[in-house]
Amino acid sequence: MIEILDAPLPASFQDGGRPGYRHLGVPLSGALDAEWLAIANALAGNPPATVALEIRLRGPRLRATRPLTLALAGEFSARIEDAAGQSRTAGNWRSLVLADNEILDCGFLKSGIGYLAVQGGFDLPAVLGSRSTYARAGLGGIDGRGIKAGDRIRVGADETTALQGGRAKDALLAVADGATPVLLRLPQPPRVTDAPLRVIAGPQRDYFTDAAWAAFLGAGFSVGREADRMGLRLDGPRLEHMRGADIISDAVMPGAIQVPGDGRPIILLADCQTVGGYPKIATVIGADLPRLGHALPGQTLRFVEIGLDEALAARREATAALAQCIASMVPDRAEFNLDALYSANLIDGVIDAQH
């Protein structure tokens, strides 16, 4: 069990999202950065799309009520406090082990978002095939909302749990015995580049003047304050419509850039509605979608047009790069409180391991 002690800013549970229901108006949702979700899960010993906590700016403080293996993907400044009040650094991009009653304070995040994955996953009910939180309709997560102080979440009830829970305990035992643990470290953490976002010309490119198209590709746009999981509003040169700013609604998707009458573009993200009534000037390609999740208010975004063949090649590259990243993880010796584990939990571990 994990108990949330403090959640100063919203954090939500996200997995691979809820595909297959968009014709019924249900948004896709899911992790803004599916790659970092996969990395966090790999470090925690989970399949790539296992549900994890998606954290923005400032993470929660939480307490483990049993020993847990978990991992942080992102530039956190996290610390672990033991029951005696001793505190140690909790590294990013590596498996972490919490003993009974130890507290993880995720601290502030330098990256826009980050993920906290726990071995075996969070035991939340799947809603329409996904545990992703979609707050607007109260779907997924804990009662369809972000986490708050006092929440208690069971850990490790995925189908894979029995196996992975066993592995976690084996790992702990292995550490105690001085053997090599099944804990992992990512030697070269991924970087979020600030290269221009690659876009495909939008389905309503012809609703805009050539001057607007040139301005869209030529200028930088600053991320506005209205930035959440539904989308990012951008400030920059006003993009002028040629044929009016309303269309008869048609489908949108994460990455689509729509421009309402005020000429300020909006990049849609994972929680966007399924259809929209504004012309779409361009769409960010799938391979660059994870980067959008990290964008913070005030940051400048630039766009570059590419063709569909290049987008496909970029998607292949991104898939290969993620696989390579996960393959590059090396065994790690955890920095954890061995005494606490000895005193409290090894006996459980031995009993369970024998089953």
Partner: protein, 240 residues
């Protein structure tokens, strides 16, 4: 206008039939959806019909865009007929009073009586053009010309769930409580969105059709209680 393909990024294609609201156009969209479903292609995650277009979200690493685009254009040629995938619904509605607080104002604005409005609504076969805005939120149409009103000048902060509302040529039923600027005429006891129904969480799907049947307050309360107790199979709301 000839159907055309539009790229919605590298992970979706939109088959566009036109740029206006028209039942004939929407019928082509639904026919294309049905034709695509019959192909049983791998690599497709979502097929989203709208008023006038069909968008397919797919994995370009599993489905060749070029070839798939040609297949979609083939689907565009499908004959419009009564869709085998569509359902005809008959939904009970209690009109007026606290259930439809705008009925009197709509009567005044159109110069008709409340009874005439209810009769006209219930005599119209409403087409489900689109589900959007909220999960399970149906855009139904089209209303008789004389019943088409602009939206409320000041939207309500909270429209009760299950409210039947109209604006312009459209009617809708709110599956959730939400803000809304449409005219509220009544309320249905029918559950429009059920997260426990994994196969089909929304009762209505694009291409379906809906007839409204007036019921009284007592009948509404009886049905609403039965729905809340999960004592009614949603199939009961299908037209006989």
């Amino acid at each position: 206008m000839k159907p055309r393909l539009l790229a919605l990024g590298d992970g979706a294609l939109t088959l566009e039939f036109g740029e206006h609201i028209d039942p004939a156009l929407n019928a082509k969209v639904i026919a294309a959806r049905d034709a695509l479903a019959a192909m049983k292609l791998e690599g497709i995650s979502d097929v989203v019909p709208t008023w006038r277009s069909l968008t397919v979200h797919f994995d370009p690493l599993r489905l060749d865009r070029e070839r798939f685009g040609q297949q979609l254009l083939q689907c565009a040629l499908a004959e419009t007929q009564e869709s085998a995938l569509a359902t005809r619904w008959q939904l009970p509605v209690v009109f007026g009073d606290e259930f439809g607080p705008d009925l009197a104002a709509v009567a005044q604005a159109t110069g008709r009586s409340a009874v005439e409005i209810i009769e006209a609504l219930c005599a119209t076969e409403l087409r489900v053009f689109l589900i959007g805005f909220l999960p399970g939120f149906p855009y139904l149409g089209e209303l008789p010309d004389w019943l088409r009103l602009p939206r409320l000048a000041t939207p309500r902060a909270a429209v009760p769930a299950n409210s039947l509302a109209i604006a312009g040529a459209q009617a809708a039923i709110y599956p959730w409580q939400s803000p809304g600027g449409w005219h509220l005429l009544g309320r249905t006891p029918v559950r429009l969105f059920d997260v426990d129904n994994v196969d089909r969480p929304a009762l209505l799907a694009p291409g379906d059709s809906v007839r409204l049947t007036p019921i009284g307050r007592d009948e509404f309360e009886r049905l609403a209680a039965a729905v809340a107790a999960h004592a009614i199979d949603p199939a009961r709301w299908q037209a006989k």
